[in-house]
């Protein structure tokens, strides 16, 4: 690639990265409005994460439905008391954590829950065993927590799966059983 071609490509990439230029003539959004919307979104997320509906929250808080909606709309200048009442009614507390604009260290409860799910999966090591190996483990008392059985079509000589070469497994055509054991 020549220098001029590289320059054109770079310019094109830069132009593509700033592709969303439709707002270029309306200036910036008021940062305070952005903060209000962010807060409203977080409060709505807390309600959704808690499994409560708007009408349930209305009942618990003794607020009008419109007030509940307003609080979560991101359009209100919320008081500390409102935030506290809202969070408490859902069984949560809150802190004010200061950080630089480009660094948000906060992890919300719904993100923690997702992280826990991510840590639980994938399931523990999966091991492929022949029926013979499973029977042996059962007799030895070293059996696994869970077994799936997978029927396989077997063809040709009767080499047990556990001893067979991969190429032989690929050509099996009559039904035999393989056990997949999951170690907990």
């Amino acid at each position: 690639m020549t220098n001029s071609t590289a320059l054109v490509t770079t310019n094109q990439n830069a132009a593509e990265d700033n592709f969303f230029d439709a707002f270029s003539d309306i200036g910036q959004v008021d940062p305070f409005e952005l903060k209000k919307d962010h807060l409203g979104a977080q409060m709505a997320a807390l309600m959704a994460f808690s499994g409560k509906s708007r009408s349930e929250l209305t009942e618990i808080l003794g607020w009008k439905k419109s007030r509940v909606s307003n609080v979560m709309s991101g359009k209100c200048n919320l008081t500390i008391k409102t935030i506290w009442e809202f969070a408490s009614s859902l069984g949560f507390d809150f802190e004010v954590v200061f950080h630089t604009p480009c660094n948000s260290p906060q992890i919300q409860p719904w993100q923690i829950a997702q992280r826990e799910v991510a840590l639980t999966f994938p399931l523990p090591t999966i091991e492929v065993q022949t029926a013979f190996q499973v029977a042996r483990d059962l007799m030895n008392g070293s059996y696994k927590a869970l077994y799936f059985s997978v029927p396989i079509q077997k063809k040709g000589n009767d080499v047990p799966i556990g001893l067979a070469h991969q190429s032989q497994i690929n050509t099996i055509s009559s039904p035999i059983q393989i056990q997949i054991a999951i170690n907990s």
Binding site: N18, D30, D37, C102, Q108, W110
Partner: protein, 161 residues
């Protein structure tokens, strides 16, 4: 028409910093009509708006991006009036649902849910009337069909710019 998709990222000169992804968040995409992000249809939709509606659209996208980033069910993050099914149609024996968010002012954002927590914006309109006209339904359905036909032969990830 060959379609591509790109993430909805608002430019920094709006003052808004698009939130960082995490595992469970919704990822909002926009349609591109060629392999170039500058062909984003959402960008084109906004360009057609007047100044007041543009401001409302920006505020609506900010709100949409903030809520999508929480990963929670969108219909619970908005009022029922604000976020609900706008139109549905049958395609290959399956019902396809198009949802809409009533953002700030008269701005309505129409979108599809796709697998892997992807939200695809189909159209952004300034609407003075709540209900979709037949012409608008046909237009929305047409876009959705084009997208789904494209995704029948291509995986979503291979069309992302």
């Amino acid at each position: 028409m060959s379609l591509f998709f790109t993430r909805l990222i608002l430019p920094p000169d709006t003052g808004y910093k698009t939130p960082v992804d995490w595992n469970g968040c919704w990822k909002i995409y926009t349609i591109c009509t060629a392999a170039d992000k500058r062909t984003s249809t959402t960008n084109e939709d906004v360009k057609c708006l007047n100044q007041t509606d543009k401001k409302a659209a920006l505020s609506s996208y900010v709100s949409f991006l903030n809520r999508a980033n929480t990963g929670q069910v969108l219909t619970e993050l908005y009022d029922e009036k604000q976020c609900h099914e706008a139109h549905s149609f049958k395609m290959n024996e399956e019902i396809v649902k198009i949802f809409r968010i009533w953002g700030t002012g008269v701005i309505r954002i129409y979108f599809l849910y796709l697998p892997k927590k992807v939200i695809l914006i189909l159209k952004t309109w300034p609407k003075r009337k709540d209900k979709l006209s037949n012409g608008e339904k046909v237009q929305l359905e047409g876009i959705a069909r084009q997208v789904l036909e494209c995704l029948q032969t291509n995986s979503f990830s291979t069309r992302v710019l």
